[in-house]
Symmetry: C2
Subunit: 254 residues, 2 copies
């Protein structure tokens, strides 16, 4: 594609010139430099993370990166598409748009995961914990929650975050067949299990930064409901995909 277009000119510039003018940030043939030039733009890796997690719609992706402006998301998706990392498909009817990763995009899995693993193992988390977006946390939890045959269908879990603004305090996870839905509005569900915690403690436990059993024993996180459900809560609640990686302490850093 690139090669076929090499003599195409736009406003007097050849395709190469336009490509080059973008900025040859590092100007190195080293593959790391070339990758970094492309991947290390603001938000790019987080957008790819969303796509790896299976988001496909523009707004769905946007929910995973709440502080990214829609303008920039649009730009990034275009860049990714141009580079052959993302495919954009538009449905004839309804104008629904469907983004997905190409094989080149899927091949970024190891990059994204190795970076996430490193962060989980080595970075201080307090600053981030002071700054958690409730909507993003719930979205993240909902993404990794799993239905189980032992549960009724639907199975309703209510989250009560006791230290956030009132209108963001309550959320529901609805397990129905193999699907888990997230809901922020009270539909008068008959709740099976209620989980109460501060947003910080819930975040830390879900991320594996504190031990869930400890948190329960010290009443940082309170599960209310039949034991047959709460006993297996760790399974249906799930946890972050890097929760199993232990944090290293500063003293180990030599």
């Amino acid at each position: 594609m690139l090669i076929e277009c090499s003599y195409l000119t736009v406003a007097g510039h050849t395709f190469w010139e336009i490509l080059m003018s973008k900025k040859a940030q590092y100007g190195q043939y080293c593959p790391l430099a070339m990758s970094a030039e492309f991947l290390c733009n603001r938000w790019t890796l987080l957008v790819i993370r969303e796509l790896l997690f299976g988001s496909t719609g523009f707004n769905e992706i946007s929910r995973g990166v709440p502080r990214m402006s829609r303008t920039l998301l649009s730009t990034r998706l275009k860049e990714l598409t141009d580079r052959g990392v993302v495919t954009r498909r538009e449905k004839r009817v309804g104008g629904q748009v469907h983004y997905s990763l190409t094989s080149a995009g899927l091949a970024l899995g190891p990059v994204v995961f190795s970076m996430a693993e490193w962060g989980q193992e080595w970075l201080e988390v307090e600053p981030a914990v002071q700054n958690v977006d409730v909507g993003f946390l719930m979205w993240d939890i909902h993404r990794n929650a799993v239905s189980m045959p032992e549960l009724p269908s639907p199975f309703i879990v209510e989250f009560y975050l006791n230290n956030v603004p009132e209108n963001k305090r309550t959320h529901w996870l609805v397990f129905e067949d193999d699907v888990v839905d997230l809901c922020h509005i009270d539909h008068g569900f008959s709740v099976h299990v209620q989980i109460e915690a501060s947003i910080e403690d819930l975040t830390k436990a879900w991320m594996g930064w504190i031990d869930m059993s400890d948190a329960i024993n010290t009443n940082k996180i309170i599960f209310k409901g039949p034991a047959k459900y709460t006993d297996i809560a760790i399974t249906w609640l799930g946890s972050s995909s890097v929760a199993h990686i232990a944090k290293r302490v500063v003293a180990e850093r030599i």
Copy 2:
């Protein structure tokens, strides 16, 4: 360390405030976001690459990132040191400074290599090839060249890059015992092997983007010298650490 300092104040700001004010770019507790916030600053990953390759001095590191300003290199090294990724040691005598990776820094190996591998496999290289810094290429080659028992000591290889400015055309690799030195000045060496090529062809062959044997057969790269040395050139010359990864063609990107 962080925790002990949390009440320390500088110019009326607590340590946390200073940390936070830096900019919570993404404001996410997600480990990928935290890593990206730190690692995806301009040049950071390339500096880490240099350290992973074993550079230790300020100027030595600087040679591996020739287009990075020394001011910024200084800043980045400080950031990396603050985060516990790099250790800085100063020799009592001579003021020699020695940078090295901590265990947290070494743990970035998989991140750097997965990113390099992705670039090698999926990115177009023509733009980068048009833009190769001669000094950097030779530095890179010198880094991966390996001494062999079959070679005399010293063993001298002359590179003649036939299409670059005259003062950058000739370089020497000096294999002596286990060490390989790079030299840009003619010391009247008695040359064992001479390699002539354009800078583009040498780059492509060394990176594995074209086949070395093909390049030799088509006279793109010319080895002059005794067969006993040139026959095993691929071994002592070495190649990029990702040269074994085949480039994917655009057609595969779906």
